[in-house]
């Protein structure tokens, strides 16, 4: 496949580009859904093609084709250069690329059990059993599904990169929905988005979907008669690690994307409340807050060997002892921001999508407390778990999250179950109130397989290591 990428890059350079790179990607995806004990859908998708990027002046051009012939690859390179020339008609500042070691390499993610070769019947039986059990335990609608991705890509650049990677990802999810007279409640497992990683089918087996099916169905039904989450202007809030993963994703991960900070996403995804002049000095949260973006974490969903610009995966400090110290970046955004190197965070979700700044594994480093200790240390508060809804402003500052389930905490003990729990806050104020952090044994690499960004839209796979946390003085119980 390298030959097609070579042809595209050579054609782009011949057409006047000062830099060009091309990716051939061969991606396969398989998903299966079960509903109420029956398999409802099996979908298999494959796409293979080439995307080429050309830089002329400060203007980028990108063209993608599914036609994998030398002639089509050359035409794609020429077309990318023509598009770059059109971009240059509405030019920006001079654009450079941060230097990166030029590598010729191969990388692949580790799997114990290749999910594409596990028999369909085995995978289907798992979903059928889980949904049957949920129905037997009170679910009105029981859903379960799995997804498998198998991607091979070949990168060539005009600087001499020649890298191929084979990345396998999979995961699963299930949920139980119950209908009351006037409301609907739902419980999900392992989380609202399931759990996904750059691992084999062993990840799904470890989840034990069937072993958790009865519990979530019963909890969903119990929620129908549970009291509403009380409304408090300020209370102690303990958040489970799955919801924390989403909290990190939305209020830290997107906020530190350098393209947002530079204004490149201003009209769509939004900007960021962070100002580059404060990098290295701004207090983002309490001293307990340490966040890294680390694409080298084994098995996490945001892991890879090289990003789509050929920058090797490496850990990047994002927040250190509560101070903002780093950003998610690529070669052009890093150069424009005056950073010395790319953060290696540029990816495209297919051959036909422009690589852009995406989260890798943006996560919270563990502390020395635990969920149990947090509950014991709380006189009057609420524990919330499993994300249900999420909304945050275009600067990634003002958020409101809802969880599927909550419990009152009274005098150091978990009390009544509560329904429709919500909390709201402002990023740095909220993170500044972090005072207890779960330990390494509670550290979970949550995977988010559906992070939307970009125009045309792209779906990113990101990882979020997280632990349970306690925050002080949080507003809870916002109602419509």
């Amino acid at each position: 496949m390298f030959e097609y990428a070579d042809a595209a890059v050579e054609a782009a350079m011949a057409a006047g580009a000062r830099y060009a790179d091309a990716r051939v990607m061969d991606g396969r995806h398989e998903s299966m859904d079960a509903r109420n004990g029956e398999i409802e859908g099996l979908a298999q998708a494959g796409s293979v093609g080439l995307g080429v990027r050309a830089l002329i002046g400060s203007g980028w051009g990108f063209f993608a084709t599914a036609d994998l012939t030398t002639e089509a690859a050359q035409a794609a390179g020429t077309q990318a250069a023509a598009i770059a020339r059109a971009s240059a008609s509405v030019p920006g500042k001079d654009l450079e690329l941060t230097p990166v070691d030029v590598r010729q390499d191969h990388w692949e993610s580790a799997v114990k059990e290749d999910p594409m070769t596990v028999p369909l019947a085995t995978k289907g039986d798992l979903l059928v059993a889980a949904t049957r059990t949920m129905r037997e335990h009170g679910a009105d609608v029981a859903l379960a599904s799995y997804d498998v991705w198998d991607t091979t890509k070949w990168l060539v650049s005009s600087e001499g990169h020649r890298i191929d990677q084979h990345i396998r990802e999979c995961g699963a999810q299930m949920n139980a929905t119950v209908n009351g007279e006037r409301e609907t409640q739902r419980r999900s497992y392992p989380g609202i988005r399931g759990q996904y990683g750059t691992r084999g089918w062993e990840l799904v087996r470890e989840m034990d979907l069937e072993g958790n099916a009865a519990r979530i169905a019963e909890e969903a039904r119990e929620l129908l008669t549970a009291p509403e989450c009380p409304s408090h202007a300020a209370t102690d809030l303990i958040i489970g690690s799955e919801q924390m993963a989403l909290q990190i994703h939305e209020s830290v991960g997107h906020a530190v994307e350098l393209d947002r900070i530079l204004g490149w996403e201003a009209a769509f995804a939004g900007t960021s409340w962070l100002d580059l002049s404060q990098l290295g000095s701004l207090r983002f949260g309490s001293e307990l807050m340490n966040v890294t973006a680390d694409a080298t974490l084994p098995g996490a969903l945001g892991s890879f060997g090289y990003d789509d610009e050929g920058t090797p995966a490496h850990p990047v400090n994002i927040v250190k002892d509560g101070i903002w110290v780093g950003a998610l970046s690529g070669r052009d955004s890093a150069a424009l921001a005056g950073l010395s190197e790319s953060g290696g965070a540029v990816r495209g979700d297919g051959y036909n999508r422009l690589p852009m700044v995406r989260m890798t594994n943006v996560g919270l480093l563990p502390g020395d407390s635990s969920l149990e200790k947090m509950i014991e240390a709380t006189d009057d508060g609420i524990f919330m778990d499993t994300n249900r809804s999420w909304s945050i402003d275009d600067k990634r500052l003002n958020f409101q999250f809802g969880c599927e389930i909550g419990w009152e905490i009274r005098n150091g003990k978990r009390g009544r179950m509560i329904k429709n729990p919500t909390y709201t806050g402002i990023g740095p104020r909220f993170w500044g109130s972090l005072d207890m952090l779960g330990n390494e044994s509670e550290w979970t690499f949550w995977g988010t397989p559906n992070c939307g960004k970009g125009q045309p839209g792209q779906v990113g796979h990101t990882g979020h290591p997280s632990v349970p946390c306690r925050f002080r003085g949080v507003r809870v119980g916002v109602r419509g």
Binding site: E40, Q44, A45, F63, A121, T177, G263, A266, Q455, R479
Partner: protein, 446 residues
């Protein structure tokens, strides 16, 4: 082009043979998007789209697959692997069978010049937008899309169609405020980058140096962009036949669930609509009245939900890849009123004019409680006059209650195509609305 695609569909059906029910969809075209930010073009892409989708049922054992190669070998591989997968599946008791032979409505939203638009044509409109913004920083995109789709199934149904869409969408930024504007059409020639840029810049200028407003319930005037957001949630969680089947929907046919000013249809034949006249299962679309003068009158259904509900046929609202979500309308049209947008503002005693809603998420599907924020310009209205811009606010509001009987005070005459509907399915044609109450639960600063 469509004949070629139909030939390929037939090739695939021949490869499947006669033992299986099968449906094939071929899509071909070009999707291009020129994106700008900080007043320069920073991303500029084009994709020569090619896609083949196959679904087979072997005695009720169902599998589907998608590929992007159409040579003989690739198609044979696709057919073989899909049949192999189906053989390993259990029987799907909900399999509804294939769409019967039926003609699609004779409507085509197509403009050849838009389908073949050059990068320079999009860049020129971006340049016009940037120039119109003057000293204000600008960001947004200009896109063109032209696709031809062919469908065939082994029950004899065979359809093809083509559609173009062009959109100019952007913001201008004053330093303390953003203002947005957008325009969509089947024809790029209809889009004036300078006019859209002037509109966005006016909004940015008029919303500069905004100040906070106490949260609470206010009357609102929602622009078409906001109205599309509201309708998107009603569609996916309410009018969707699957949501009704599962007991998650508010929709009750025959009940006056909305204000009498609300009449809502799904209508690909509307002159402002874009898109194809048939759905992902090859069922022709038709004008479907979902709400008639406030009374819920129909649901949207694909073949599976129609069968499960047991009371009718597919309404032509199957969406490719929607999976367990169910059916969705792609061409909602909210009937226009007779009030000019400025007069909607003029009728407000004390309320807010909202340009865009942002990051809206459902809290409870049954009651349609949604939270989100305002964006790109909000103004306080007192006694029918705009008195000042206010900072963005968070709201937590039941969309159903917002349109409930007695809640709609005015419907605008400004029927507008909004090119990108909520949840990414289709494009809606809607006017502005004046609503009696909207629950703002917090300011931008918490």
């Amino acid at each position: 082009m469509s004949d070629e695609l139909l030939d390929t569909c037939e090739r695939v059906l021949r490869l499947v043979g006669t033992d299986a029910e099968a449906e094939v969809t071929l899509t071909s075209g070009t999707e291009s998007l020129t994106r700008f930010a900080t007043s320069f073009i920073h991303q500029n892409v084009a994709d020569a789209v090619q896609r083949v989708h196959l679904r087979v049922a072997l005695s009720g054992r169902v599998a589907e697959a998608t590929g992007n190669q159409t040579d003989d070998e690739a198609l044979a591989r696709l057919v073989r692997s899909t049949l192999d997968a189906a053989q390993l599946q259990p029987v799907d008791p909900g399999w509804p069978g294939l769409a019967p032979v039926a003609d699609a409505p004779a409507v085509e939203h197509w403009d050849g010049a838009t389908a073949s638009a050059e990068p320079g044509e999009r860049a020129a409109r971006v340049g016009d937008f940037v120039a119109a913004a003057g000293d204000f920083e600008s960001a947004g995109f200009c896109s063109t899309e032209g696709v031809t789709v062919a469908f065939a199934n082994s029950a004899g149904q065979q359809l093809s169609g083509r559609s173009t869409t062009a959109t100019m969408d952007g913001i201008a930024r004053s330093g303390t405020s953003d203002g947005s504007a957008r325009a969509s059409s089947a024809s790029l020639a209809d889009l004036d980058g300078a006019a859209v840029g002037r509109d966005a810049t006016r909004r940015a200028r008029e919303s500069a140096d905004a100040s906070d407003l106490e949260p609470g319930r206010y009357e609102v005037v929602l622009t078409p962009s906001c109205v599309v957001d509201v309708l998107g949630f009603l569609a996916i969680y309410g009018f969707n036949g699957r949501a009704v089947e599962e007991g998650r929907s508010f929709a009750r046919i025959g009940e006056a669930q909305f204000d009498p000013a609300i009449t809502l249809t799904d209508d690909v034949m509307h002159p402002l609509s874009v898109g194809l006249p048939f759905d992902a299962e090859g069922t022709p679309k038709r004008r479907l009245e979902l709400v008639n003068a406030g009374v819920t009158s129909a649901l949207v259904k694909d073949r599976r939900t129609a069968r499960a509900l047991g009371n009718g046929e597919s309404t032509g609202n199957a969406v490719a890849g929607a999976g367990s979500w169910g059916a969705l309308p792609a061409n909602l049209v909210l009937a226009a009123g007779s009030v000019a947008p400025d007069d909607l503002v003029g009728a407000v005693e004390r309320g807010l004019l909202v340009t865009d809603l942002w990051y809206t998420r459902i809290l409870d599907p049954r009651t349609q409680v949604v939270t989100g924020l305002t964006r790109n310009g909000v103004w306080l209205i007192e006694d029918g006059r705009i008195v000042r811009p206010v900072t963005n606010m968070r709201f937590t509001q039941s969309y159903l209650k917002a349109l409930a009987p007695g809640a709609v005070r005015g419907v605008g005459s400004d029927l507008t195509l909004v090119g990108d509907a909520t949840f990414g399915v289709g494009a809606y044609v809607v006017p502005s609305l004046h609503l009696a109450s909207w629950n703002f639960t917090g300011g931008a600063k918490g």
